[in-house]
């Protein structure tokens, strides 16, 4: 099996079927254009913007945990060789292209294509025209030289990502509390609040490739929260170079680097003083 999802699947693979999503149907792509259903053992790649190779997916759930906007949910695929459930993407249009799921996937089964680039990718222009920086982003953590090389070469197989430890005492603790009721009133209170706030905040923000985050220097307190929340901080999405000096304090200001900003709004969430807003690109 090839390591990682086929990066040219939008042009090289054939569209075989659709599956009903929350608002729009989700496309299913296979190599030969035939699709036999969820229990057939041969599932192909699901999704256009959020592409997941279900035949590789080992269902460790990392993408579901990582997604800030809840695009995924579990769907059962009985009898499949790799795993018996898959991360289905019913809320695909909600994707903010933050690429968090790409990074966390242990088997490289996820490929995010920017909605604006989908048509070009379908036309087969992906390998030729896509800027190198997009690929570099996708393989975050590798040496920069390798990043560009992955355009042509197959991405390396990810090492086993989880080394289990015995955790003897943790198990003992869990056994000792087996019949105790864990307090969860806070959780019960928090969960609905959470969903509500997240939905409100996301709905009020404009996001996507045609938008860019903007830092208001007069509000920025230089706390670096956004730098650590940006998925692309290692590649310099947010520069950290500025220095202003006033009478009272001097403070560094965040700077958004235009080229790599995907408009994912994660930094807006991160800012404690609401100094970052989303603006339309000029």
């Amino acid at each position: 099996m090839a390591a990682g999802i086929d990066r040219q699947y939008l042009s090289a693979w054939k569209q075989a079927a659709t599956h009903a999503g929350d608002s729009e149907p989700v496309q299913i792509w296979t190599q030969d254009g035939t699709y036999g259903g969820l229990d057939s053992g041969k599932l192909g790649i699901w999704g256009t913007v959020v592409g997941v190779d279900f035949d590789m997916c080992i269902a460790d759930g990392a993408c579901i945990d990582a997604c800030p906007v809840d695009v995924y949910e579990w769907i059962d695929s009985p009898g499949h060789a790799a795993s018996e459930r898959k991360p289905f993407m019913p809320r695909e249009p909600d994707c903010i292209v933050c690429r968090a799921c790409e990074e966390v996937c242990p088997v490289d089964a996820v490929l995010i294509t920017d909605p604006g680039d989908v048509e070009a990718a379908m036309a087969g222009a992906d390998a030729a025209a896509a800027p190198a920086i997009t690929e570099a982003v996708a393989t975050e953590g590798e040496a920069s030289a390798e990043a560009a090389a992955t355009v042509a070469a197959e991405p390396a197989i990810a090492a086993p990502v989880w080394e289990p430890k015995p955790d003897v005492w943790l198990q003992r603790m869990k056994e000792s509390l087996a019949d105790a009721n864990l307090p969860d009133t806070g959780m019960a209170k928090a969960k609905p609040l959470f969903k509500e706030i997240r939905k409100e905040t996301l709905d009020s923000l404009s996001r996507g490739k045609e938008f860019i985050a903007l830092v208001h220097n007069d509000k920025c307190i230089g706390c670096t929260q956004c730098v650590y929340f940006c998925n692309f901080a290692s590649i310099d999405m947010i520069g950290w170079e500025l220095e202003t000096r006033t009478d009272a304090f001097e403070s560094k200001k965040a700077l958004i680097v235009e080229d790599t900003c995907t408009g994912c709004t994660l930094c807006v969430f991160a800012c404690p003083v609401e100094a970052i807003t989303m603006e339309a690109r000029a």
């Binding site: 430890k165 955790d167 005492w169 864990l182 959780m187 609040l193 959470f194 706030i197 997240r198 404690p272």
Partner: protein, 294 residues
Amino acid sequence: MSRTEPYARTIPHPLFERMIINDVDTPDEAPWQPERQHEYGYFPGCVDFMDVEVKFSHLNKGDADHASIAAAAIKLMNAAGIDPLILDMNSFKCCGHDQLWQGQLEVFDELKAHNLRRMQESGIRTLVVTCAEGYRTFAVDYDLPGQGIQVEHITQTLRGRGLKFKSPEPVRVTFHDPCRLGRMMGEYDAPRDLIQLVDGAEMVELENSREKALCCGVSSMMYCNDATKAVRKKRLDQGTDAEIQVMLGGCPKCYMHMQCLLNEERMDPGEHNHSFEMLDLMQFLSACLVEEAA
């Protein structure tokens, strides 16, 4: 463990802070009356509140279930003959430590006003907290002792209550002093006394302990970056040097941050060199508790 579904981290945690602010903005003015009079009140705090998203479940596979700290504390208090009133999130709100230390005084004041009113309504005489940050906040910033309610850290409560602990196997443990409990509140001995009670546990001190203890690196959920991870790693390295098997913390936040780094190291098997476990003191004691024949 009576929880069926693991909770996933769905939102970056500044939204968690925003949620507390939202909680502040929804006033809860209705009077509240506990079913009966309790001498002791136990404030589990945000341990389960933040499980919702701070669990980093894609990193630790759900191991860092902080609500187990609260459950362990309740179990130990019951074993010590204390029947605490659980001051949970149904009627209380977050203690506001993080907001205070982030400089958000308005939010803190609202939380304080609400919690103080609830404290008076609850009629307790002694407040017990498992969290070092909560201990400091209630004792100093709320000034509960000035209003007739004693504040105790759980280790101070359990000390000298005749509890019996026995470790299933000989184990080498150490205690990591939380900044808020040690340097800010001056309590170094109570947790150590408790560990001495455990039969079969050998207590060793790290290179820096007590006043000189290194911090876990993240206070008030402000930072988790390279610099603070280096602080954390240094602390864990000291544990490796002391050849311990279990590191015990007195604060759920310390437990959370240390556990987070330990779990992160598992993602990169070549790097990690910390072969011990991090546990909260309450969890450890709960695992070692000798049940009275009943």
